[in-house]
């Protein structure tokens, strides 16, 4: 047992931790939301992760994403796997550097207990939500997190028992309203908390 697992057993109890460790979580996107949400999930004991993102780390990502300067140019899923393993060496991570399409979305995520929608583009977000809602145990998505100020506006809306939406549904990334670390991390942390709450409520087992 790793040091982190041991510590979490102390915080949460063996039973709760066993439930967390059994859950298979997919992250659709490993950018601002996905890289940070993955980090929080690993720190909460989630250890069976599938990361899907076709992109590479760029300098422009370092203002908010869980990557380091020396990782620019690497595939995000490879860099994120490396970073997560530094937190918890005993993880099972599937790193898929693929673009999510209508043709592959079910194959990529359809077998998982929980999927976190952490994509950038509206169309891709909608594709993931419309395709997976009701097909996976729990879906957590995000919409509206750009800019700064009023972080309490980033709410968690429980649309139905297996679907949570984080964000204000209005703050799109646009000129003058960039994605910045604090609000992006509030949303990523709330996505992780929704997953954790769903599992600890006994829904994942």
């Amino acid at each position: 047992m790793s040091g982190l697992t041991d510590a979490l057993a102390g915080y949460l109890g063996e039973d709760a931790l066993a439930r967390i460790r059994a859950v298979r979580v997919g992250l659709a996107g490993a950018g601002g939301l996905g890289s940070n949400c993955a980090q929080y999930l690993v720190r909460c004991g989630f250890c069976r992760l599938r990361l899907v993102d076709f992109d590479v780390v760029e300098a422009a990502n370092l203002n908010r994403q869980f990557y380091f300067a020396a990782q620019t140019g690497q595939k995000k899923v490879a860099a994120l796997t490396e970073n997560l393993l530094r937190i918890e060496p005993e993880l099972s991570v599937e790193a898929l550097a693929e673009r999510i399409t209508p043709e592959n979305v079910l194959e990529l995520f359809g077998d998982l207990d929980v999927v976190v929608e952490a994509l950038d583009q509206t169309r891709a977000k909608i594709l993931v939500v419309e395709s997976l809602l009701g097909r996976v145990g729990c879906l957590v998505a995000a919409s509206g997190l750009a800019g700064w100020g009023d972080p309490d506006a980033l709410t968690v809306r429980r649309v139905r028992p297996d679907f949570y939406l984080v964000g204000d549904e209005t703050s799109a990334v646009q000129p003058g309203r960039p994605p910045l670390a604090p609000r992006v991390n509030v949303a990523a942390a709330k996505e992780a908390d929704a997953v954790l709450s769903w599992v600890l409520a006994g829904k994942g087992t």
Partner: protein, 66 residues
């Protein structure tokens, strides 16, 4: 006729389709996911589905950024 939209009851004229309702709300349809009575309603079904008394509609708006 009463329809529940995002948890709030709204009075609606008879023969309101999902498309017509979304237009009236002023939301751009390509940014929305619509769920009717607990199931996703594909956008191809929006023009033909007339809302009925007691329907429960959930509308989620997606904007860019992640």
């Amino acid at each position: 006729m009463q329809v529940t939209v995002n948890g709030k009851t709204e009075e609606m004229p008879e023969d309101t389709t999902v498309s017509r309702y979304l237009e009236r709300r002023g939301a751009s349809p390509e940014s929305l996911v619509v769920e009717l009575n607990g199931a996703v309603l594909a956008r191809t079904g929006w023009p033909g589905r007339i809302l009925r008394d007691g329907d429960r509609l959930e509308i989620v708006r997606f904007v860019q950024g992640g």
